[in-house]
Amino acid sequence: MEPQEIERLVQETIRDAEVRVSDLTGTGDHFEIVVVSDSFRGKTLIEQHQLVQASVKSALDDGRIHAIQIRTATKEDKAKRQSADDGLRIVGE
């Protein structure tokens, strides 16, 4: 899939989301998805990640995406830790 398609999927579920999608392997099926949204306020990290996972579930289920790595923040979080996005880790199964 193209990163732009994934951005669209996330924004369909999380309307105010600022989304940044990177193809981690260049193969169109391993992505990092960074989402900033105020709908995350008051939610635990796992609830935030579950929202993002739900938004791309169809593509994970039918195999178009093999693995995703998620980072989430509220707009307030983002302002507080602008440098926190630097350290990327590979996660998945």
């Binding site: 635990t44 990290l45 796992i46 990640h49 998945g92 199964e93």
Partner: protein, 112 residues
Amino acid sequence: MTQNVIEQIKSDIQSNKILIYMKGTPEAPQCGFSAATVELIKSFGHPFATRDILAGPGLREQVPKLTNWPTFPQVFVSGKLIGGCDIVHEMHERGELEPLLAEAFNSPNKST
């Protein structure tokens, strides 16, 4: 059989203050993410239980269905899923993991 597996999962989650569903064992993890998660949790010095999802049938299929979380490892604290490898590390970076674990052991109910 499936029903027994589900009951066992629920019972394990409720009866351990910290429980990790992982690939392999703490001594012989079968996946880098499971290994990294166990190492981090171990560093706080609290007792924790683990279940090897590769060891028997059922866990690998049923745990994700119950938790709405697709991957392993899965870390439970006080009966609640808190996350996988990336989330527990992010919580640790934010300074949120240690107080959460400490609180689990300060609460009087639930045995280890």
